[in-house]
Amino acid sequence: MFSFLMAKEECISQRNKTEHSSILRNRKNIPTSLKTSQAPFTSVSKDKISQTAGHSSEDDNQSSNGSSAQLFTRRHGESPVKVLLLLVVGLSFSTRLYKITEPPHVCWDETHFGKMGSYYINRTFFFDVHPPLGKMLIGLAGYMTGYDGTFPFIKPGDKYEQHNYWGMRGFCAVLGSFLPIFAYLILLELSQSHTAAFISAILLIFDTGCITISQYILLDPILMFFIMAAVLSMVKFNQQRYRPFTASWWFWLVLTGVNLAGAFGVKFVGLFVILLVGLNTIWDLWRLLGDLSLSLVDVAKHFLARVVGLILLPLFLYVTIFAVHFVVLNKSGPGDGFFSSAFQSRLMGNNLYNASMPEYLAYGSTITVKNLRIAGGYLHSHWHLYPEGVGSRQQQVTAYSHKDYNNLWLVHRQDDNNSQSGSPDLVRHGDIIRLEHKETTRNLHSHLHEAPLTKKHFQVTGYGINGTGDTNDLWQLEVCGGRKGDLVKVLRSKVRFLHRATGCVLYSSGKTLPKWGWEQVEVTCSPYLKETPSSQWNIEDHINPKLPNISLSVLKPHFLEILLESHIVMIRGNSGLKPKDNEMNSKPWHWPINYQGLRFSGVNETEYRVYLLGNPVVWWLNLASLGLYLIMVAVASITIQRGFSLGPKRIEQSQVLMRGGGLLLLGWLLHYAPFYTMGRVLYYHHYFPAMLFSSMLTGITVDILLNSADLLLQPPYSDWMQRVGQMVLLLSVLYSFYLFHPLSYGMTGPLAHEPGSTMAGLKWMDSWEF
């Protein structure tokens, strides 16, 4: 206890030394003033606590006249603290687990994440834009609770029937239940005020949005669990700063690292909490560097400890997650085509698994050609033409990631089209060939027209009928690093196709074509002849009945190559999620004002409807507190900068406001602002991590605001006002929860704008859809 107080003093004077000397003058007499103010307050709070043991939140803050008083209540009020925490735990779990199995059908994105959980149980390989940890945990939870992975999760609304889905939902709900608890603990560390902590816990517990998003098989509760756990352990770690390298110091450091890995392993949004922790760590190191009592060796030790705990360890865990992912999923599945030939060869059931085909490319063979850029597609064509105004109106040639008949091409000599007798000739480096698209019998063709997207390149088309075209159909095949006469090894040779007439090279730009190109990837002919993976291809399938099949052991790819490849595929998949037409696109500015929610289940009157929407009272309170917080910080910092002398209580409050509040505001900004720059499709639920920070900030802001009631009123009245404020807040949150709880726990019957609805009169904004 005492050491903690000392620590606090030390840290304050530290700051003053470096930043501003004028405050130091004000602070010199603080220890004495603390001492004098301690005695009466302890006795008061003790009395109060003994009177009203159950209802402790009010008791605490009436006595929170400066930190010292709070610290004492903390010691004396151990049992009410536990009661408060237990209350939070109980409320949190009961609100989240209530009606967990309702509705008994697939809701919203459960169709994706439930399906992916099943893939883990069935060990089939799939592709998703998020890292695997969340889905692995869902799969594990399902496996442990007796789900056998047989439910197909085809579309929202499908009935689960006899399948065991409660385990997966329950797992997510349990993780979601930890959020208010973590918020409580975080605020306790940041503000030393039970009131602030309790306010934010209550806000989160009774927020319908947080309840709804925790109750289904989704990644968000898992993600938010790790985010909050990371912030909590970071804050705990910060408190350990005066006991470096002790066991608890290490424990919280390592725990922070573990949670960071967890957050990033669920969704890439975890990057934002990594940034938050990173900035906090940089600030911390900067402080240590300025502490001249530490030698450089000590500073280096601190630095290295953080590198190990916050960079190397999370990285290792993250890579481990992927290793597990690749080991578990060893059967061919829907995600194969996104990956390179070498990668596919390790999946059971894929046609490249223990492949056997003719070893050298020959004339007359049917082949598929895959681009070598990471996650490049197959050379593809189809019956559709380029639209008017895009080069010449000939047949489209694209790169396509899925396996398809339209990826097949025939290899011909430049002159003849007829099949030869006997064993066919092999294709050699430098040969001039013609590639005919098997389905449409057009030749791969290029000419001096601009490519559709990459205007510096030439357009590639399918041209001719039944393999008869013109001289623009001729391509010189070149094996990279080969010499004249070298044979072309299937799967292993990197080849380039040089256009005879214009001298350009067949190239996959990686850009997605618009709707007319079915959102496949552009293929061009590049006049820049530098060897890059974009202009290199390999022959993947090779069918030639006249040649003997030889079993090919493809070079097994290195684990790190797979890792890199899967990340590039994921990032590309993420940025490829463009808003579709007809779909109402959610904008980031909609979110804090709770403009519009998401339909989780049900549309019309007869169905069981669940609507993801935050409790408007909570959300609008959060929004107002953000503004209030900024005003309060501005006032506080100008007062300090101007050198007005403040009482110890005010100094303490402005410290909490700037330090604790600043951290939370930064967290909110980091989890919210980046969405403005994202081009991908956005949804309302992306705001929830930011909303957690916002609610915690509300806790601090409201608590300090109510505590400052004595600026306006004399002591007894100010305490009353503070209490009344807290009660009003609590009751309005509870009442609004009572009003809006059907959003989470399900509604049936008429919609809100019709008479007789349970939600009648609650459609406060026209944009809400319940």
């Binding site: 501003h20 300025g290 001249l292 205007k455 720059t677 026209d766 859809e769």
Partner: protein
């Protein structure tokens, strides 16, 4: 008398000859032979069309930036007597002799030339020596890309000039003694140039924010100084740097809107009320229309949505196909669509439901109010606007809207619509022409008439689909409709009515829309109009700019190899990058050492060093990083403002190195001097080398051009002979 006149009468003037010299050189490099080439060069083709529209005072909307830049270009054209009669249709088109090319290009060139003395002065204000100032001026003077960009009718040089001016005048203000009140003139000038910079291009906003940040830090320190009464000073700063720029920014729009008072090609993007305020176009038609919509009114209904294109509620003598391509059935009633062109089939008659006949306006007219139930009759075919529980052709989740045809298939008419005025001020408000935005709510199903924005297939003549959608699903402007053309119907018989519909509207009332409403609408439209972004042959990615991976061909002579390219001076470019790196490295080392208590620099020098970083490195960051986040077609010239900051940084950093890092050793200093001279020499040599591509003359041979292709990725054109 002699007592009053004190002799000798003396004028003392100090002239910085170096400054004069660099100014003259700058003017010479930027302004000589300005009218060559006598042809449209690169983006002149884009800005030129707006200049022409200014000359003709025709309204236009350009989403690329606020109007001040265009107005400056137009001013040049106006002074040169340009009448706006030139078709800007392709790069390389020759100007006719009637167009004064020199005057079109002189203002940007002048701004470009003035940048050179400005960086000289700015370096001095950053408290570096005259030698550094000269260095910065020389780097700017001999930068080929800046020269190219200044010499044509383009806006970058204007932007750079204004931004530099803003920083220069702010630092002048900051460095002036506190007692002088004259220094607030500098602050005001700074605010004005900020407003102008933002008014030329939105990019100026980032420099403005940086300047605000610097000013905030200075003010913050001021607040901490308890010996001063800071209230007045703070208010002055807020007025000069916040209030004045905002007002000026609005003022640019005021100028813009008062200059452009005629209707033109972009009218349709604006609301009817806005259009009515322009001369010609809609106002000619709508002039004198009755204001209040009454039963029996003949109206055209325009959708409030400008996406995908503005259009009017329309119907014609064609029915929905019995079955669509995908097998779904329809009501086979008459099509109702939204049509983007004026047409006689856009006319509808507002009819009272109970009233038989009722195609005429009563005397006195009975106005339609908010909440009234009406029927809409199509003028040419006399079908009632109808909706029912049949899936719409392209948006099956919504209801079909049709002109009702009774096929006797137990499908009753459901043609009652409730008028819901969404921008009403009172509950019983009358439906007003142009001003009221109305939702038409279908009485039987409470669905709302909506433009879905999807084009119908060939059977619907590719017109836009109109549906009715349940209110809780639908949002936004696609639900609103307003009456654009309006007259009181006078004929009961269909034949007479047809004749009436074909005749143009008339009568007279004057309608005003306030400047603020116009400003807000225009600004919003400029930010919201999204053009389909596609890659350009010479577009490039921001990261390629640092190493100058790409160039832009601005102009190629019609028959010879003479050509102009936007290529920077590679040596200066390298110097700039090097100094950026060096500053960051140096700053990191200094900061770490200071934190450990080693004060390498006296406080004054440290402050100077930090200020240099804030302005130059900060300026580079705010002018470069935003581009990384943009999804726009970007070009090399977007990098030029950021580059200028680096040219400001390089010599100052050298001076810092010379005085503070190499103070101990004379040999090191000598070596540095030799290096600097060598670099300056090579800057000059490479400037000379690329001059032919900068000025477009002399013409080079194909071999010489090939020699100038220093990077493989540059595209330099040469003719095959």
């Amino acid at each position: 008398i002699s007592a009053m006149l004190q002799l000798p009468l003396v004028v003392t003037a100090q002239v910085d000859l170096v400054l004069v010299l660099v100014s003259l050189l700058a003017l010479w490099t930027r302004l000589s032979r300005l009218s060559y080439p006598n042809a449209v060069v690169f983006d002149e083709v884009y800005y030129g069309q707006f200049v022409s529209l200014y000359m003709k005072r025709v309204f236009f909307i350009d989403d690329s930036g606020p109007p001040l830049g265009h107005m400056i270009l137009a001013l040049g054209a106006y002074l040169g007597g340009f009448d706006g009669n030139f078709v800007w249709n392709r790069i390389g088109a020759e100007y006719p002799s009637s167009v004064s090319v020199w005057s079109l290009r002189v203002l940007p060139a002048l701004c470009g030339a003035l940048c050179v003395p400005l960086v000289y002065l700015l370096t001095l204000e950053l408290r570096f020596s005259h030698l550094s100032a000269l260095g910065a001026a020389v780097l700017l003077l001999l930068e080929n890309s800046l020269i190219v960009q200044s010499r044509f009718m383009l806006l970058e040089s204007v932007l750079i000039f204004l931004v530099l001016l803003a920083f220069f005048s702010y630092l002048r203000f900051h460095n002036a003694p506190t007692s002088s009140w004259f220094r607030y003139v500098w602050l005001l000038l700074s605010g004005i140039s900020c407003a102008a910079a933002v008014g030329v291009k939105y990019m100026g906003l980032f420099s403005y924010l940086l300047l605000l940040g610097v000013a905030f830090l200075h003010t913050w320190n001021l607040i901490g100084d308890q010996s001063l009464n800071v209230c007045v000073q703070c208010v002055c700063r807020v007025v000069c740097l916040l209030v004045v720029p905002v007002l000026l920014y609005v003022f640019w729009f005021y100028l813009h809107l008062s200059l452009l008072n005629r209707s033109g090609p972009h009218d349709q993007l604006m609301s009817s009320a806005f259009q009515a305020s322009l001369q010609g176009g809609l106002s000619r038609i709508t002039q004198g229309q009755p204001l209040e919509v009454a039963y029996g009114s003949q109206v055209t209904l325009r959708s409030s949505a400008s996406q995908p294109i503005p259009c009017w509620l329309h119907s014609h003598k064609a029915n929905y196909p019995v079955r669509y391509e995908n097998g779904r059935g329809s009501s086979h009633q008459q099509q109702v669509t939204c049509y983007p062109f004026k047409d006689v089939n856009n006319w509808w008659i507002i009819k009272h439901p109970g009233h038989d006949g009722g195609h005429m306006v009563d005397t006195p007219p009975r106005p339609v109010r908010h909440g009234d139930v009406i029927q809409l009759v199509h003028g040419m075919t006399s079908r009632f606007l109808n909706s029912h529980d049949v899936a719409a052709p392209m948006s099956p989740h919504a209801q079909e809207v049709s002109g009702y045809v009774d096929f006797n298939v137990s499908m009753p008419a459901q043609n009652l619509w409730k008028v819901d005025i969404s921008n009403r001020e009172a509950e019983s408000e009358v439906w007003k022409t142009i001003l009221s935005e109305v939702r038409l709510v279908h009485v039987n199903t409470s669905a709302v008439l909506k433009l879905s924005g999807v084009s119908l297939p060939d059977w619907g003549f590719r017109q836009l689909e109109v549906v009715a959608e349940k209110l809780f699903k639908a949002h936004g402007s696609s639900l609103g409709w307003n009456v654009e053309e309006h007259r009181y119907g006078t004929s009961q018989e269909p034949k007479e009515r047809e004749a009436e519909l074909h005749s143009p509207t008339h009568i007279d009332v004057d309608r005003k829309i306030s400047f603020w409403a116009k400003f807000l609408e225009l600004q919003w439209k400029m930010l919201a109009v999204k053009q389909e972004e596609s890659e350009h042959k010479y577009s490039s990615a921001p990261l390629e700019w640092i190493t100058m991976e790409t160039n832009i061909a601005y102009w190629l002579h019609a028959t010879t190899n003479a050509q102009i390219h936007l290529i920077g001076n590679p040596v200066s470019w390298g110097v700039a990058n090097l100094s950026l790196l060096a500053y960051q490295l140096l700053a990191a080392v200094y900061m770490l050492r200071r934190r450990r208590g080693f004060k390498d620099l006296p406080d004054a020098v440290w402050d100077q060093f930090v200020c240099l970083g804030c302005v130059c490195v900060g300026g580079w960051v705010v002018n470069f990083v935003p581009f990384l986040l943009m999804e726009k077609t970007l070009f090399l010239y977007h990098y030029l403002p950021a580059l200028c900051y680096l040219y400001l940084l390089s010599p100052a950093l050298l001076e810092h190195t010379h005085t503070h890092l190499l103070s101990s050793s004379v040999t090191h200093r000598c070596a540095l001097c030799v290096c600097v001279s060598a670099v300056l020499l090579s800057v000059f040599v490479s400037y000379r080398t690329f001059c032919p591509l900068t000025y477009g003359s002399p013409e080079l041979s194909a071999n010489q051009l090939r020699g100038l292709r220093w990077r493989d990725t540059w595209d330099i054109l040469y003719r095959r002979r």
